[in-house]
C-alpha cells in the first residue's frame, strides 16, 4: 500500500517539477489506504466481527456497547461474572493505556456474515442447494447408495431433523447449510523440549454442502475465532468462547436468517444452518462436550463403557450407547448446581459437565462428536504399534540383544580405586579404571556361549577366544589368573600374556567340558 502511495507521489512529482503539490493531489494521496484492513473496509470485504473482552481469569466474554452515534466500543472495566462460592469475579478487563483496550480480546466472526459471503457467490449457492435436493430425492426414492462418498449422502443427514420435525434437508424454498465444527489448540511459539510454551485455540467450521474439492479451500473455510493464549481455557471455560457462535446457530436453526439479497435470489431468502458434526482430537472433543477425559472412569463419549480396564473389550455389538436425554439432563443439573461441591459430585458420578453445545436442541454427542481418524488411527494406533509394540526405532535396533551366559561363575570383582580398602590390597589386585573394565570384558568373553558343530569349528572358536582374551591388558589377565587360581609365573617378556591367556582358555575348556558331559 505504501508502495502505491509512493508511486503516485512520484508520478505527481515528475509531472510538476518541485512545486508544492496541489490540494487535489493531496486528496488523491490521502485516499489511498495504507493498511490491509483499510483496504478490506474500503472495498467492503471486511468480515463483520465483534471483539469481546474476555476475562483473563474466568474467561467470561463481555460484548462491547456503543454510545449513541459513536463507533468506539465501550467495555465494562471489570468482569461481572458471578462465580459459584466466590461472588463476582471482578478481574480487570482493560489495560491501563490512555485508550483502554481489552487485555484478552476475542474476535468473533459472525456466522451470518460468513454464510452471506457464501451465498453471494453464484456457484457456491448452487452447490449448497443442489446437495440438499439430491439427497432429498434419494431419500424420497428410498434408495441407499452403495458407495457413500460424503456426509451429504450418508445416513446421518438422511435422518437429521429440522426445526419443523421434517428432514433438515427438506428445504422448501429456504437454504439449508450443514456445518462441521472443529476446535483445536495449537502452539504459537513452537515446541520446546519441555513442551509447548504458549498455545492458542482455533475454532473453525467448514460447510458440508460444498463439494469436497472446494470445501476446504481457505476462502471457503470459516474461522470463527482464535482463542487467545498463552493459557488455553480449561474445562467449562471453553463455553464462553463458543457462546456467541452457538447463540447465532440456535437462532439460525429455529428462526432462520433472512438475507435481503443473494446471488440466486435477488429478492432475498431465508437460510437455516446447523452444526452437524464436531471434529476434534480426543482431548479436545471431551473438553468441548464437557465429558470426562478418555483416561478417566468414563472413557468413552459414545458408549456406556465404564472403567478404564475395559478399553480392550472387543464385543462391539453388545455395547450400549449413552442416553442423550439423560446426558442433557445431567448437564443442565450441573449448570444449575449452586455449589462447587455439587458440581464436582455430578461430574465425578456421571462424568458430565455443562457444555454450551447443549443449547442446540439437536446436539447429540454420541452421534455428532466424531472420533477423529487422523489422531486416533494414524498418530496414535499406528505410532504405538510401530514404535512401542514392534519397536521399529533406531534406538531399539541399536540396543544389543543380551546373549545369555553359557555358565555362571562367581568371579572376583576388582575393587575400585576409591574404595576404602583399596590401599591395603596386594599389588596384583590394584587395578586402574581401564584395567577394571578389561577384567569385566574378560569375564564376559569367558562366559559367552561357543557354538560349533565339529572339531575344526571348535578349534576355531577357542582360537578366537584366545585372541579376544590376549588383547586385554596384562594386569587384567594377571588379576583373572590369580582369581581362578591359575599358575602365575614371573613376568617373562613377550610371551607372558600368551602364557596367561593359554591358562585361562584351558580353564574355560575344562569348565565347558564339565557342563556338557552328562555327569
Amino acid at each position: 500500500m505504501n508502495l502505491v502511495s509512493l508511486l503516485v507521489s512520484m508520478v505527481f512529482s515528475t509531472r510538476q517539477s518541485r512545486d508544492s503539490s496541489t490540494a487535489e493531489e493531496d486528496l488523491i494521496r490521502s485516499q489511498i489506504p495504507l493498511r490491509i484492513s483499510d483496504v478490506f473496509k474500503r472495498f467492503n470485504l471486511d468480515a463483520k466481527t465483534t471483539t469481546y473482552a474476555m476475562c483473563p481469569s474466568c474467561h467470561k466474554g463481555h460484548p462491547p456497547t456503543f454510545r449513541h452515534g459513536s463507533s468506539e466500543p465501550v467495555y465494562p472495566t471489570h468482569c461481572n461474572n458471578v462465580l459459584l462460592e466466590k461472588g463476582t469475579c471482578g478481574q480487570a478487563l482493560l489495560d491501563n493505556e490512555k485508550k483502554p483496550q481489552p487485555i484478552k480480546p476475542f474476535v468473533y466472526h459472525h456466522v451470518d456474515d460468513f454464510v452471506g459471503s457464501l451465498l453471494a457467490r453464484e456457484d457456491l449457492e448452487t452447490y449448497i442447494d443442489s446437495s440438499c435436493d439430491e439427497l432429498l430425492a434419494s431419500v424420497k426414492d428410498e434408495e441407499t447408495p452403495m458407495f457413500v462418498h460424503d456426509v451429504m449422502q450418508a445416513s446421518f443427514m438422511r435422518s437429521f431433523q429440522g426445526h419443523d420435525k421434517k428432514l433438515f434437508i427438506d428445504r422448501g424454498d429456504e437454504g439449508r447449510l450443514a456445518f462441521a465444527l472443529s476446535v483445536d489448540n495449537y502452539t504459537v511459539e513452537g515446541l520446546r523440549t519441555r513442551g509447548s510454551k504458549a498455545s492458542c485455540g482455533m475454532i473453525g467450521m467448514a460447510c458440508l454442502n460444498l463439494p469436497y474439492d472446494i470445501r476446504y479451500k481457505p476462502e471457503n473455510m470459516y474461522l470463527v475465532g482464535i482463542i487467545p493464549g498463552p493459557i488455553v481455557p480449561h474445562n467449562a471455560e471453553l463455553n464462553h468462547y463458543l457462546a456467541p457462535l452457538v447463540d447465532d446457530m440456535k437462532v439460525s436453526y429455529h428462526n432462520g436468517v433472512s438475507y435481503s439479497r443473494t446471488a440466486l435470489y435477488p429478492n432475498g431468502r431465508t437460510v437455516r444452518s446447523a452444526i452437524v458434526v464436531e471434529i476434534c482430537d480426543l482431548v479436545g472433543a471431551r473438553s468441548l462436550a464437557g465429558l470426562m477425559p478418555a483416561t478417566s472412569n468414563h472413557p468413552c463419549s459414545v458408549c456406556n463403557l465404564q472403567p478404564m480396564d475395559q478399553v480392550g473389550r472387543c464385543d462391539h455389538e453388545t455395547w450400549q450407547m449413552r442416553d442423550v436425554e439423560e446426558l442433557r439432563h445431567i448437564a443442565k443439573l450441573w449448570q444449575s448446581a449452586t455449589t462447587l461441591g455439587d458440581q464436582a459430585k455430578i461430574y465425578s458420578t456421571h462424568g458430565v459437565r455443562y457444555s454450551v453445545l447443549w443449547e442446540l436442541e439437536y446436539w447429540d454427542p454420541t452421534r455428532q462428536l466424531v472420533v477423529d481418524p487422523m489422531h486416533c488411527i494414524f498418530e496414535n494406533m499406528v505410532d504405538f504399534h510401530v514404535r512401542d509394540v514392534l519397536q521399529l526405532t533406531s534406538e531399539a535396533a541399536k540396543a544389543k540383544k543380551k546373549t545369555p551366559s553359557a555358565f555362571f561363575h562367581n568371579f572376583r570383582k576388582p575393587l575400585l580405586p576409591d574404595n576404602a580398602d583399596y590401599e591395603s590390597l596386594p599389588e596384583i589386585k590394584k587395578l586402574k579404571k581401564a584395567e577394571i573394565d578389561a577384567v569385566r570384558l574378560i569375564h564376559g568373553n569367558l562366559t559367552q556361549p561357543l557354538v560349533y558343530k565339529d572339531e575344526d569349528q571348535c578349534e576355531e572358536c577357542f582360537r578366537r577366544l584366545h585372541q579376544q582374551i590376549e588383547s586385554r591388558s596384562k594386569k587384567a589377565l594377571r588379576f583373572v589368573c590369580d582369581d581362578l587360581g591359575l599358575p602365575l609365573k614371573d613376568d617373562a617378556g613377550l610371551d607372558y600374556k600368551s602364557f596367561l591367556t593359554a591358562g585361562i582358555v584351558q580353564w574355560v575348556s575344562s569348565v565347558l567340558i564339565d557342563i556338557s558331559s552328562p555327569n
Binding site: V151, Y186, A198, M221, V277, H316, R367, E379, V386
Partner: protein, 176 residues
C-alpha cells in the same frame, strides 16, 4: 531397520505421494506427522515387513519364523484397517471389514505381545466407534481433521513478531 529404510529409499513412488523421512526411526527424523504415518502404514511398512517376516524369509529357527509370522499377520490386520478406513467412499461391507480387522487387532494385541508395557489404550476403544461414524457420516475424508490442521498451519505461519496479544484481529484479517 535397514530393510525399512532401504524400501523407503528405493521404492518408486508417484510424486504426489507424501514423502517420508529416509532416516525413519531415528530421533533426527523428528515426530512423524499423521500423513507420514498413513503413507508408511499403507505402503512402505507392509512391503518391508512382509519381505522380512513373510513367506520365503529366512530365520534362525522355525520357532522364530512362526512367531514373526504371527506378529506380521497381527500387524497386517492393523494396516488393513488403516487402508480400509482411508477409502474415499465407504460401503457397508467395507465398514464391516474394517470392524473385523480392528477387532482382530485389538483382541490379539495382548495375546501376541506379552509384555508389561503393552496395554490397551483409549484410542483402541475409540477405533471401534469409528465404525459407527463411518456408517453415519460416510468416507472419513470429509470428517477428519486434516483440513483444520492445515488451517492451523496457515495461522501459525502468519508472521507476527512473537507478539500475538493484540494482533489477533490482524491475524484474523489476514487469514480471511
Amino acid at each position: 531397520m535397514a530393510r525399512i529404510r532401504d524400501v523407503i529409499a528405493h521404492t518408486d513412488a508417484p510424486s504426489w505421494l507424501q514423502s517420508v523421512p529416509q532416516n525413519f526411526g531415528e530421533a533426527a527424523a523428528g515426530t512423524m506427522k499423521a500423513a507420514e504415518w498413513r503413507v508408511l502404514a499403507t505402503i512402505f511398512l507392509p512391503i518391508a515387513l512382509v519381505s522380512l517376516w513373510g513367506e520365503g524369509s529366512a530365520h534362525d529357527s522355525p520357532e522364530d519364523a512362526t512367531a514373526l509370522r504371527l506378529i506380521l499377520d497381527h500387524t497386517m490386520s492393523l494396516f488393513s484397517a488403516v487402508i480400509l478406513i482411508c477409502y474415499r467412499s465407504t460401503t457397508t461391507r467395507r465398514a464391516q471389514e474394517y470392524l473385523k480387522y480392528v477387532t482382530r487387532y485389538v483382541r490379539d494385541l495382548k495375546i501376541i505381545h506379552k509384555r508389561d508395557d503393552i496395554n490397551h489404550k483409549p484410542n483402541h476403544h475409540m477405533a471401534f466407534h469409528l465404525y459407527d461414524f463411518l456408517i453415519l457420516f460416510g468416507a472419513v475424508r470429509s470428517w477428519w481433521m486434516f483440513p483444520f490442521e492445515r488451517l492451523i498451519g496457515h495461522l501459525q505461519r502468519i508472521p507476527k513478531n512473537h507478539l500475538h496479544g493484540n494482533l489477533f484481529l490482524y491475524c484474523f484479517h489476514l487469514s480471511l
